[in-house]
């Protein structure tokens, strides 16, 4: 009986390993291709015969890759910080204050979750054109500064913060804003980090809105930079350069994933459970 079970487990391991090869292969191929010189590229060696760095050199000398990287970091960090701050502030207020219009405001914000980005990009584009936001950091960032989902999530968690704790701080004479910042926020750290990572990933990979609002080369974010460089039809595709760009764009995500694996999984499961 035990023997049969262990054979079954071995079969499962073999199947899972086949899956691992299939799923991981594109990543491996991407990295290996980025280290091949152009002639070697078309020879279908799996392993590069000579590890050639010219693709990486080209990425930084012939494109504005460094600038795109910086743009992506700025956008993802600022949007994430803003989203966390406002989601927790609004979530806290809706959960812990009783006032006229509480339910109404909550429903108003929640209702925006129903509307897909695709419907909004056209009005946002018209706004941006009118207010001169096209091609600015503000233009790329403004739609993401607050998200209804974050408010919803933080409100759920703030409901669990004990009122006695807040009242004790009030008796100590703390200002309401400091109570939020120094008493309530530390109570919901797990939710904050889950939401923060999801937001960072989402913004790092965002494509539809940035590709619309960005028009000059220097304002591109990483995905736009890679996409545009690759589709710009200038004398055939420089595949090894595209692969070097892609590798560099994926690295921070992989690092982030290994550091925050538990939080990311929690965050995804959280969004899964709360729907």
């Amino acid at each position: 009986m035990a023997r049969r079970a262990s054979i079954g487990v071995w079969v499962i391991h073999v199947l899972l390993w086949i899956g691992v090869v299939v799923v991981a292969f594109p990543f491996v191929w991407m990295i290996l291709s980025s280290f091949k010189s152009v002639p070697e590229f078309y020879q279908f060696h799996f392993w590069p015969k000579q590890w050639d760095l010219s693709a990486y050199r080209q990425v930084f000398t012939e494109t504005q890759y460094g600038r795109w990287y910086l743009n992506s970091i700025v956008v993802a960090v600022v949007v994430t910080v803003s989203e966390l701050f406002f989601a927790s502030l609004v979530g806290y207020t809706l959960a812990k204050f009783r006032f006229r219009g509480n339910q109404l405001i909550f429903l108003l914000i929640l209702s925006t979750m129903m509307v897909p980005t695709e419907l909004l990009v056209i009005p946002w584009y018209v706004m941006s054109a009118q207010f001169g936001w096209v091609d600015t950091y503000w233009g790329i960032m403004f739609p993401g500064l607050m998200e209804a989902f974050g408010v919803f999530l933080m409100r759920q968690f703030m409901l669990g913060v004990p009122d006695d704790l807040l009242d004790a701080a009030r008796i100590d004479g703390m200002s309401e804003f400091r109570i939020f910042l120094q008493v309530a926020l530390p109570q919901v750290k797990p939710a904050l980090s889950a939401l923060g990572i999801l937001s960072f990933l989402g913004n790092w990979n965002a494509y539809l809105w940035p590709v619309i609002v960005v028009s000059t080369e220097s304002m591109r974010t990483l995905p736009i930079g890679i996409g545009m460089f690759s589709t710009a039809d200038n004398g055939g595709l420089q595949w090894n350069v595209i692969m070097a760009m892609s590798t560099l764009a994926v690295i921070p995500i992989v690092i982030l994933y290994f550091i925050f694996q538990k939080r990311i999984v929690e965050g995804i499961a959280l969004t899964g459970v709360k729907g």
Partner: protein
């Protein structure tokens, strides 16, 4: 004049408590905290939503509401193609990624070693840059320099055109989507499986149920909310497919959604109409159709999930 108004207020400056009650002061704090966010949500989300509807139902000449944009859509072959393709993406990718996700979750649930490793590898495609991985796949699909045809050659399968063949391109794009999303489904299924009480499974075993019977009559029914959630989020995200298509089949001698519009989705169509042809009104009308589709799916979800389950 002013003094008269101020007089009665100044009068009771004794040690009476402030006139504003505690509740009123706290409400004021709440409003102060909410004023910027509320303005933001109204200005950046709600008004633009109304504006999009406005644009969809008006045309440039501005003579009142009209259905001209929607009539144009019905007469446009590319729109019908986009709608049909989008539904194809839904039908191909959602069941496939859910099936892979469930099988992976069940298999990982059975092993004791390397659980975390498997989970990490299978989940990575979901969080990595869609643009970057789309280009890797485009390279692998390439009829001349792609590894996929090379591998097929080992098994004496003739080389395919993949993204350049109108009959194969949509499937090729779908494969990339399934590859990316199966890990997400796996993760949600793993959470769903963990939530099933051990005692139920043990009870089934005591009653003499085999592995298949336990799965069919205990696990499967209890996974129902997870299935509904994954089906709904999967359908909604498939309806919004854009980035993969734009990067797998765009540029380099072909327009996005090519060849011959065989991969064009509704969002690609919106993008082309709005930002290549600058017909923003028409593009808005298409997004209204997309919005209605997504809304319908969401309503079905609410209906199904609100049904009471009895164990």
């Amino acid at each position: 004049m002013k003094a008269v108004v101020l007089e009665p207020r100044r009068a009771p400056v004794t040690n009476r408590p402030p006139r504003m009650s505690l509740a009123a002061r706290r409400a004021l704090t709440a409003y102060a905290f909410l004023v910027v966010p509320v303005l933001f949500f109204v200005g950046i989300r709600i008004l633009p939503t109304l504006y999009a509807f406005g644009m969809a139902f008006f045309t440039d000449n501005g003579h009142g509401p009209t259905l001209a944009n929607f009539r144009e859509m019905l007469a446009d072959d590319t729109f019908r193609r986009a709608l049909g393709n989008t539904l194809l993406y839904v039908v191909i990718t959602v069941p496939a990624q859910m099936a892979f996700g469930l099988v992976l979750a069940l298999m990982i649930g059975r092993v004791r070693h390397l659980k975390g490793f498997y989970r990490t590898v299978y989940f990575l495609p979901y969080i990595t840059s869609v643009v970057a991985v789309s280009w890797v796949w485009r390279l692998m699909y390439d009829p001349n320099s792609g590894i996929i045809n090379e591998v097929l050659g080992w098994f004496h399968i003739p080389a395919q055109l993949w993204l350049r063949d109108p009959h194969e391109a949509l499937l090729a794009v779908s494969i990339v989507m399934i590859w990316q999303n199966a890990g997400f489904a796996m993760l949600i299924f793993m959470a769903g499986l963990e939530a099933i009480p051990r005692s139920f499974l043990e009870a089934a075993r005591v009653d003499g149920a085999g592995a298949w019977q336990t799965f069919r009559w205990v696990t499967w029914p209890l996974l129902n909310p997870t299935l509904v959630f994954l089906a709904v989020t999967g359908v909604i995200s498939a309806l919004q497919t854009f980035t993969q298509i734009e990067n797998l089949t765009g540029g380099s001698g072909g327009q996005a959604g090519g060849p011959l519009n065989s991969t064009v989705s509704m969002v690609v169509y919106v993008y082309n109409a709005g930002f290549n042809d600058f017909n923003l009104q028409y593009a808005s009308a298409v997004t209204v159709v997309l919005f209605i589709l997504i809304l319908l799916v969401t309503l079905v979800q609410l209906k199904v999930l609100n049904r009471a389950y009895e164990y």
